[in-house]
Symmetry: C2
Subunit: 213 residues, 2 copies
C-alpha cells in the first residue's frame, strides 16, 4: 500500500519523513495540510493528531505522529539509514527535537511567516542566541566526521538537516558554517535528494500567488 503523509512544504518536520521516503523509494503520497489557513487547529486535525502537529504518517492501518517515531519506523521497515549504533542515532534525533529543528523552525516561523508588525523582537533575539548555540554543537560534532552518527548517513542526518535547506532567513548562513555546509552538500548528493518545496505541496510562492489572485 502507498503511505500517506499529512504534510506541507514549509514544515521541516514533515520534510524529514518525506525525504526518508524519497531516498528509500518508499511509495507515498502527500496529503496537504493547509497550516496557514488554520487547518491544524480544527477538530478534524486534532482527531488525526491530538498533538496538533505535522507530519502524520498513515500506512496499512497504522497512524504515526512525531517525525522521530516515523523515521525510526521507516528505518526498521526498509532497513535503510540505520547503519550504526542505535543509541547514537537516537541521541541526535532527541537533540534535534529539543535544541535543533524545534528552535530553527520556530525562529523561522516568527521571522518570516508572522505579519511584520506581529514579530516579537525580544523573542526573536533570544531564539537567535539559542539557535546559534545549537549550530555550534552541530558544527563541532561534524569536525572530522562526514555523518552525525557513524560512517554512513542515517536518520539522524535526515532529521537534523531539515530546516537548514529552507531559503527563508532565520540567522543561519551556510557560508558561516563550512562544516555544516559540506555536510548539507553530502546529503544533497544522495541519489534522489529533493528540496522540501519540490517534495511537498505548499510553499511561500504558491501562497503569494493565491493572495494576488
Amino acid at each position: 500500500m502507498t503511505a500517506q503523509l499529512h504534510c506541507f512544504g514549509e514544515s521541516g518536520h514533515s520534510y524529514k519523513v518525506a525525504l526518508m521516503m524519497q531516498l528509500t523509494g518508499h511509495p507515498w503520497q502527500p496529503v496537504f495540510v493547509d497550516f496557514f489557513s488554520g487547518a491544524m487547529r480544527g477538530a478534524d486535525y486534532r482527531a488525526l493528531n491530538e498533538m496538533g502537529e505535522a507530519p502524520v504518517y498513515v500506512e496499512d492501518g497504522l497512524t504515526l505522529a512525531q517525525s522521530g517515531v516515523i523515521l525510526l519506523h521507516l528505518a526498521e521497515r526498509t532497513g535503510r539509514f540505520m547503519d550504526g549504533d542505535r543509541s547514537e542515532i537516537l541521541r541526535w534525533l532527541f537533540w534535534d527535537n529539543h535544541k535543533g529543528s524545534s528552535q530553527f523552525g520556530t525562529l523561522r516561523f516568527l521571522m518570516n511567516f508572522l505579519p511584520p508588525e506581529k514579530r516579537p523582537a525580544e523573542v526573536i533575539a533570544w531564539l537567535q542566541g539559542r539557535c546559534k548555540a545549537a549550530l555550534k554543537t552541530l558544527d563541532g560534532h561534524l569536525a572530522g566526521r562526514d555523518w552525525l552518527a557513524g560512517d554512513r548517513p542515517t536518520i539522524a542526518d535526515l532529521s537534523c538537516c531539515s530546516y537548514l535547506y529552507y531559503p527563508e532567513p532565520f540567522g543561519f548562513d551556510r557560508g558561516e558554517w563550512p562544516r555544516i555546509d559540506a555536510w548539507l552538500d553530502r546529503i544533497q548528493a544522495l541519489p534522489g535528494w529533493k528540496h522540501p518545496y519540490d517534495l511537498m505541496p505548499g510553499n511561500p510562492a504558491d501562497r503569494a500567488a493565491k493572495e494576488d489572485a
Copy 2:
C-alpha cells in the same frame, strides 16, 4: 557495577533518569554537576557531553546522553516501564523533548534562576503561552486514561512528569489541571518515588544557604 549519573537537583531532565533508577532499584550514584557555577560551560564537561547538557549516564564503560536515550536503555536493560507499544511510548518521549519539558524547564529557568533584572518579560510571556498549549495537549490525552502510553506506567510518564513536580512557579498550577494532577499523584504513589530535591544533590535552598554563609 554502579551507574553514575552526572546531574543536579534542579535539572528535570536529570530527574527523569534518576527517578527511573530509583523506581527500578537500579544501583546508581549521583555525580554533582555545578550548573549554577558554570560547570557545564567548561571544556571538561564538553569532553563528557559535547551537547553541554545534563544528565550524562555512565555504566560499564558506556556513556549515554539525552534523557530519552538513557530511559530507553534502562527500560530495555531492566525490562521495566516499557509495557506497551514502543511507538506510542516514543511518541511521548519526543513530544516531551520538543514541546513539554524543553519548554517547561526553560520557562522555569527564566522565571526563577535568572536575576530578576535579567528576566526577559516578552520571552516569558511567549513561553507561557506555549507551555499552556503543551499542558492542554497533555491534559487532553489524560482524559479517560491513567497513563500516557498503554495501561501501565512507562518511561513516557517518567519523562513527561519531571518538571511538573518542582515548586518554583512557572505558570503551572496543579489545581488548574485536575487530570494532570491526578496523574502526578499516581506517579507519586509508585513504590519508592522521591521528589527531585530528595533524589539528587543541589537545590535552591542549598544555594541560598551557601550564599548566606
